[in-house]
């Protein structure tokens, strides 16, 4: 009898343990998968909206990932298309804008006009410049906020920043939108194509001074006593491709500068492909060069293409780009196992960005829970994610631009060719915390859209699981401040 009791107790206990274990595991599984899905959404987009969550619920997370990797099959929402359609200058050719500005400048130089007339024309030039810049920035913001092709827009932002240019140098404002539009088709495409479009784009040629880069013994060099300008060549290797430790020398910088002599701007689109790029043969260095150990025979513009081929397929480039991707999507200190694997994929696929990203997203490292909610948002990611989280339909873009300016991350206005960093150490500091909590409060009060009160329930749904402390503090806070706290919480600042 006693034995029987023990037997039954044993079985009961065993079943109980088994049952509890199963329940726990089931619970843990569903929790993990919620947090896991959220992690993927946060990293592959500019902030989680209810629409994205519904899509994942309906189709599953893998289908979502695949659709994001194939953006051409994703339809854009009417609100975005309508917004972009209302803008005017971004739909005009930059060469046309440049013609208008140049014509106005010519008028100002004409002494026949009165001072008032000249002032009026100068005012027109300024307005056109500002409008071209602000429209380009607004379009960039609108796409980040509204686009259903979130991963693509994340990558457009990533590549623009990687091949950074500065809006306020020369006439770059007029070319901003065009520059981004040239990058956009290749954001998930081929790295070599990104090199091709940026090397030839007037915005880059103006920004890194290549329009001045002239062989001293070329006809133009001799006539104008002009010489080499190393700026583009250096940054092309240091920042765009091989990285500062990529293994090139000062001699390689000079050789590359000589290779790119003559790659210049044709502002009004009168020559060549009529899109603003022109190869000025009479500035080009006509000697053979040695670049990274390769003999490059004098061959005009083709030398540049050859150099870009060498750079695009260089292992240092694969490593540099892979590191930056892993840093952006996984961790401020990305595991080297992952970086190495991505670099190999980059080389094997001839720089196919979609393939590299697919590998990254499905890697054990990216999916490791230790990395969830560990990337501190940049000011840009933070503000855009608040707008998405609160689902503010018609935000005031001018105010958003002002906030980003104050947070030291104005769109298109990073003066350094490095672009903006995306690490916590770059952006987390006492002053930033005061500003972020301040902007969260202001946005919660409707500064971006007077009259629209942000539904707290929706914020709650979109913000995912909160920590105990955040929950407790919010519960103890008067209702009118709860949205502010939610938007200024640690959970909202990390992705």
């Amino acid at each position: 009898m006693r034995q029987k009791l023990q037997y039954w107790t044993g079985i009961l206990l065993f079943s109980l343990i088994l049952w509890l274990g199963l329940i726990n595991r089931a619970e843990a599984n569903s929790e993990l998968s919620q947090a896991h899905q959220r992690h993927i959404l946060e990293r592959l987009s500019f902030g989680v909206t209810s629409e994205q969550m519904q899509q994942v619920k309906a189709e599953g997370i893998e289908a979502y990932i695949q659709s994001q990797l194939t953006p051409e099959l994703v339809e854009e929402p009417p609100i975005l298309n309508n917004y972009l359609a209302k803008l005017s200058l971004i739909h005009q050719k930059p060469t046309e804008l440049q013609k208008k500005v140049n014509a106005n400048r010519k008028k100002v130089r004409n002494s026949g006009l009165s001072i008032e007339q000249k002032q009026k024309i100068r005012q027109e030039i300024r307005e056109m410049n500002t409008k071209a810049r602000d429209e380009a920035i607004n379009a960039h913001l609108a796409r980040a906020i509204y686009s259903s092709r979130q991963l693509k827009e994340v990558m457009v932002d990533f590549w623009f920043n990687h091949f950074n240019i500065y809006a306020d140098k020369g006439d770059i404002r007029l070319w901003l939108s065009d520059y981004e539009q040239k990058i956009r088709p290749h954001a998930l495409g081929n790295f070599r194509d990104l090199l091709a479009v940026t090397a030839r784009h007037p915005a880059m040629i103006i920004y890194l001074d290549n329009k001045k880069n002239t062989a001293p013994d070329s006809p133009v060099g001799i006539r104008g006593k002009l010489g080499l300008n190393e700026n583009y060549a250096r940054e092309l290797m240091e920042l765009h491709t091989m990285g500062v430790d990529g293994g090139y020398t000062q001699d390689d910088v000079i050789a590359l500068a000589r290779i790119f002599t003559g790659w210049g701007v044709d502002y009004e689109g009168k020559r060549g492909d009529k899109k603003g790029f022109f190869f000025y043969k009479n500035r080009h260095d006509r000697h053979d060069k040695t670049f990274l150990g390769h003999k490059i025979a004098a061959n005009g513009i083709k030398e540049g293409e050859q150099a870009l081929d060498i750079l695009a397929s260089h292992p240092a480039t694969a490593h540099h780009i892979s590191y930056k991707l892993a840093e952006y999507f996984v961790s401020d200190r990305p595991p080297s196992s992952l970086v190495d694997r991505l670099a190999q994929k980059f080389l094997d696929s001839d720089g196919n960005i979609k393939v590299v990203l697919d590998t990254l997203i499905h890697s054990a490292e990216f999916n490791d829970p230790q990395y969830y909610q560990q990337k501190f948002t940049t000011p840009y990611q933070y503000i855009v994610s608040l707008v998405r989280m609160a689902e503010i339909e018609q935000p005031n873009f001018k105010r958003i631009r002002g906030m980003l300016q104050q947070l030291s991350m104005p769109v298109y206005r990073c003066p350094l060719p490095t672009g903006y960093k995306n690490t916590q150490s770059a952006w987390l500091n006492p002053q930033a915390m005061l500003q972020r909590t301040g902007f969260a409060t202001a946005i919660a009060r409707g500064t971006l859209n007077p009259g629209y009160s942000i539904p707290y329930k929706q914020l709650q749904r979109n913000s995912g699981e909160l920590s105990e402390r955040t929950k407790q503090v919010i519960a103890k806070t008067p209702p009118k401040l709860r949205s502010a706290l939610m938007m200024g919480s640690p959970e909202a600042m990390y992705r």
């Binding site: 001074d209 010489g227 350094l416 150490s425 500091n429 006492p430 005061l434 503090v473 103890k476």
Partner: protein, 419 residues
């Protein structure tokens, strides 16, 4: 934004009283709180004795050869046919300093400081590692460990940790982001550049402040940053009340640096805990048409430095101001009336604690054989030499402390620029 000005001020007063109590408790005996402007008026010696260091970083590599012009070197004029600063007394010529060097004419505002021995230069300073990337070279200058790429903190942050902890010392940063030089374990106060730092922000309001203080009351990184932000904010609000700043801001300067310099001076004079400050000015990467850029930038730089020294007047005798840049530029001008990335550069020293009116540093001339890689001014003084001397003699760091700020650096002690 409905809460009125009165309640806001009441709140601040309340906060201030609380802060006083806290400060009193924490520092037992030294009952003078942060942010009181009356150190000097009260004749508190211990406070005025505290040594200060201000570091100003000219980012982009300023062309030191056109700042401290070697006008007696024929090679200088040969190398720069279109951009050299003309001989003294010629049109737009250099302002002669010592018969050999001259100052760029657009820095004329600094001449009284030179005459009163509050300005000196060290020529041909730089990093022992030749590095032509702006970003890498800036990193080395800020980490204080040239050649080592993974140093996790900046030398000014390490310095802060070595300063006497009898009272909590503070470093002040002008900027929204923390530069590498100030990164590290020690908390840094910061003010926004180019703005009236005392203008109200949402978290000044009592209810909002309370809510976020609860949210960020922990010991995690975000909480600590928030708490330090609020502490710095209290200092700014007490020292830079809008009334106080309105006088100097009546005619708002075209240049943010000048306004920032005024605020830094106010905060350092008012708050004896602020021993270190860091500021930066960009725009010096003059690959093209260098002269117009200098003509535009130098006057406001000079105005800012004069504003800073004037504002620091009560404590200027205990202050060293260092102006530095990541590297110099090529001796020869390039094909675009500009200069490319070079090596050795001039370091500027200002303040009452230096023996001004001198240009220090070993000068080897500009003949081709003396140049680094046939193109740059060589480096004859390691930048850590200048900084170490300031740390050792001015800030009284012992050898052990010094080796923690600049690990592995041995002082050569061949300079003597401190008073």
């Amino acid at each position: 934004m409905s809460s009125g000005r009165v309640s806001y001020l009441n709140y601040l007063n309340m906060k201030r009283r609380k802060f006083l109590t806290a400060a009193g408790l924490a520092t037992a005996g030294i009952l003078v709180p942060v942010g009181m402007n009356s150190w000097v008026a009260r004749g508190v010696k211990s406070a005025t004795n505290r040594k200060r260091l201000v570091v100003i970083f000219l980012r982009g590599a300023v062309d030191g050869l056109n700042i401290v012009v070697p006008h007696q070197e024929a090679e200088y004029y040969e190398a720069r046919p279109t951009i050299a600063v003309p001989y003294p007394h010629k049109k737009d010529g250099a302002i002669d300093l010592d018969g050999f060097y001259g100052l760029h004419p657009k820095l004329a505002d600094l001449v009284p400081l030179w005459d009163s021995k509050n300005l000196a230069f060290v020529q041909a300073v730089g990093s022992p590692v030749v590095e032509r990337s702006h970003f890498q070279a800036q990193d080395y200058l800020e980490s204080g460990t040239p050649g080592i790429k993974n140093t996790k903190n900046g030398w000014m942050n390490r310095l802060l940790a070595e300063l006497p902890q009898d009272m909590p010392t503070q470093a002040l940063n002008v900027g929204v982001t923390t530069p590498y030089i100030l990164k590290g374990e020690m908390a840094i106060a910061s003010i926004k550049p180019g703005k009236n730092s005392a203008a109200p922000i949402p978290t000044d309001r009592p209810l909002v402040h309370q809510a976020f203080s609860n949210l960020y009351s922990g010991t995690d990184t975000l909480s600590k940053a928030y708490q330090n932000g609020r502490k710095a904010r209290e200092i700014v609000l007490t020292d830079l009340t809008q009334e106080m700043m309105s006088a100097s801001r009546g005619a708002k300067s075209a240049n943010a640096f000048v306004d920032d310099a005024a605020e830094v001076a106010k905060l350092m004079v008012g708050n004896a805990k602020t021993q270190l400050a860091f500021m930066q000015v960009g725009g010096w990467d003059t690959h093209i048409n260098q002269n117009p850029v200098f003509d535009r930038l130098l006057p406001s730089l000079a105005e800012g430095l004069v504003t800073l020294t004037q504002g620091l007047e009560p404590i200027l005798a205990d202050t060293v101001i260092v102006v530095m840049s990541e590297f110099g530029r090529t001796v020869r001008e390039n094909g675009n009336k500009g200069t490319d990335h070079g090596y050795g550069n001039a370091m500027w020293l200002l303040g009452g604690a230096i023996r001004g009116g001198n240009v220090y540093g070993q000068w080897q001339g500009l003949s081709q054989s003396k140049l680094n890689e046939n193109r740059d001014l060589p480096v004859t003084t390691d930048f850590r030499e200048v900084l170490s001397l300031i740390l050792q003699q001015h800030l009284s760091l012992d050898d052990e402390s010094l080796s923690r700020v600049f690990p592995g650096y041995e002082l050569a002690s061949n300079l003597d620029f401190l008073a």
